[in-house]
């Protein structure tokens, strides 16, 4: 008879088995399971983040610096050439990351803030306030987003502030619907009731009782909506209604250089090819980021929802 185990209390057994993993260990396990596509997405996002943060250090010239030679070909001084009025394409591409991604991120956060808090309030309140906000959101969603934004931009004029506000409000509707419907399931829980009886105020209940429980779907929605907002702003800029020059931005870069594709026949690896890349590179940057974020969101949803592919 061994003396290794003299007690048979449940606590003794479980405590030896269930050593809680540190946050770091859990992260490592999570990442080791990540599929290749998710890694691809993370690498892309990391590169974009570095470019966004350090654009002024990476760029060879100033954001709106104009050189004497417009439409210059690729050369040692201008690695990707210059655009029609003589601005360095590489520089504008790097600064464009900062402006395009930054504004899209800010807009998505604004949309989350407005839509999320209104959704929480509506879910807790459930009275006439809920009705009013819900009907207003229904109406805004009945108008196609691009048309709604174009109309408002026609009235208020295209500036970065109005762009962020208009697109933010347009997309707040999506966040509102999601937050409201997810929190409705949480609001009825006993611990929310307990907090209410304890006399906690509305802000506490929203932030400490409900929010932690609805966070995963909100984060997934944030990633997904970021893509839509990003594409939406890029489209508006491409149409000439978004971010205005001289601020560098990918959508308007495509627009400014598009004539190289539309009017010049495309022959691989001849001069025209490199000119054709001027509008194509910013467009490609947009596409790459959206695909990268898409992969990450896919993986995140997969991990947090516990869904397995059928």
């Amino acid at each position: 008879m061994s003396d290794s185990q003299t007690q048979h209390a449940a606590i003794a057994e479980t405590s030896t088995v269930r050593v809680r993993r540190t946050r770091w260990q859990r992260m490592r396990i999570l990442f080791s399971r990540a599929p290749l596509t998710a890694w691809f997405g993370m690498v892309v996002v990391a590169i974009y983040a570095v470019v966004t943060l350090f654009a002024p250090l990476l760029a060879p010239y100033g954001e709106a610096e104009v050189f004497s030679r417009g439409d210059a070909p690729w050369s040692r001084e201008h690695l990707l050439g210059t655009d029609r009025i003589g601005r360095d394409v590489l520089t504008r591409l790097l600064y464009g990351a900062r402006n395009t991604v930054g504004i899209a991120l800010g807009t998505t956060m604004l949309a989350l803030l407005i839509g999320g808090s209104l959704g929480l309030i509506a879910a807790i309140n459930r009275s006439w306030l809920d009705q009013i906000i819900s009907r207003a959101v229904d109406t805004i969603m009945a108008i196609p987003g691009l048309i709604f934004a174009l109309m408002l931009l026609a009235i208020f004029g295209a500036s970065i502030l109005s762009l962020i506000l208009i697109v933010g409000i347009t997309y707040a509707t999506n966040f509102f619907r999601l937050t409201r419907s997810v929190s409705l399931n949480v609001v009825v829980m006993d611990y929310v009731e307990a907090a209410r009886l304890r006399g906690e105020n509305m802000v506490w209940i929203m932030a400490r009782e409900i929010l932690p429980n609805i966070l995963p779907p909100l984060i997934a929605e944030f990633g997904l909506r970021f893509i839509f907002v990003f594409l939406f702003i890029a489209s508006l800029s491409f149409l000439g209604m978004g971010i205005q020059p001289p601020t560098a931005d990918w959508g308007s870069m495509v627009r400014e250089n598009a004539h190289w594709i539309t009017f010049v026949p495309f022959v691989p690896f001849q001069d025209a090819f490199f000119y054709g890349l001027k509008p194509l590179l910013p467009a490609g940057c947009i596409a790459l980021l959206t695909i990268g974020v898409n992969f990450i969101v896919d993986w995140f949803i997969h991990e947090t929802s516990g869904l397995r592919d059928v």
Partner: protein, 325 residues
């Protein structure tokens, strides 16, 4: 049967209410504008007399409600006011502004042509691909189709358009400059690339939804039963799953047609196609508010009625929706 009509009637009524509120929003875009609208349009140099004349010509001196009902009455009779561009600003200049409807109608026809051609190609294509991917689920074909459609959805439309121009621009016209007198076949040739761009985007979305609608059904017990009794995969999909899948698929089609109406905007600008989307973008650029309002109203009305259609199709084909619990 009465129940069905009642539900559909309610839904149509709701659509009309939505349209009414949307028209209010579109209309109030002029009235609720901060500052003096006449000043904003005519510029700082305009004289007081000009401003007054401008306000009177737009009824800006009348109460908002009067103006709204005048506007709605005008729209009902096919009169959406005159454009701002070309309006005389100097007091004695000649007024060369044109009725908005006169400008809009031919462009609307062009847009409907583009959307119609796209729909005629993409709907059968998307349904076929949806069936095939559901049939050969998790095969290499399915996986490739999924990867391709996921990336086309994630790409901006103008990127796809320019890629197509690069690949096929040598063989097909890259500028869709249709005119009123352009013949049908010539027209078709001109819109080939715009149609392909729109088709790529819309087929991707529609195919994924069709596939999801069928696969969703494959989890039902009666499909399990069919499989156990020895039905082949094709038999299960076409004989057992499809009849029940038509409802969601029809909804998917109507929903995507609603998207198509808006999706044309960017494509029209890329290919300088003379449609209503390009008209709207141009007028937003020149801040020609009556044209913007008219375009927005047309787009919103089409969008709302398409979504309404999707809902009605859903109600008619799914009897369960008639008996809400």
């Amino acid at each position: 049967m009465f129940r069905l009509i009642e539900v559909i009637g309610k839904r149509i009524l709701l659509g009309l209410v939505t349209l009414f509120i949307v028209s209010l929003i579109i209309f109030s875009s002029i009235s609720l504008l901060p500052g003096d609208f006449a000043q904003a349009v005519l510029g700082q140099t305009a004289t007081e007399a000009t401003l007054k004349a401008f306000r009177e010509s737009l009824d800006l001196d009348k109460p908002v409600i009067t103006r709204y009902f005048r506007w709605v009455a005008g729209v009902m009779q096919g009169d959406m006011g005159n454009t701002f561009s070309g309006r005389s600003t100097g007091g004695q200049g000649i007024d060369v502004s044109r009725p908005v409807v006169e400008i809009m109608l031919p462009k609307l026809r062009n847009t409907l042509f583009l959307a119609g051609v796209t729909a005629a190609i993409s709907v059968p294509l998307a349904l076929m691909l949806g069936f095939l991917t559901a049939l050969f689920r998790n095969s290499i074909f399915d996986r490739t189709a999924n990867a391709i459609t996921l990336s086309t959805i994630a790409m901006p439309e103008f990127f796809l358009a320019y890629m197509l121009i690069i690949l096929l621009g040598g063989y097909l016209p890259t500028i869709a400059n249709v005119r009123a007198e352009t013949e049908f076949l010539q027209r078709l040739l001109l819109v080939t690339l715009p149609t392909m761009t729109l088709t790529l985007v819309i087929v991707a979305a529609m195919m994924r939804m069709t596939r999801a609608a069928i696969i969703n059904l494959l989890a039902s017990p009666y499909i399990e039963m069919a499989r156990l009794s020895g039905a082949s995969q094709a038999e299960i999909i076409f004989r057992h799953a499809l009849p029940n899948a038509w409802a969601p698929i029809a909804t998917v089609i109507a929903f995507n047609m609603a998207w198509l109406v808006v999706g044309v905007v960017v494509v029209e600008v890329v290919f300088t196609y003379d449609g209503i989307g390009k008209l709207m973008v141009d007028s937003v650029g020149s801040r020609d508010i009556p044209v913007v309002q008219a375009c927005a109203l047309v787009f919103a009305a089409t969008y709302i009625s398409m979504n309404l259609l999707a809902d009605i199709v859903g109600i008619v084909t799914n009897p369960r929706l008639l008996h809400p619990r």
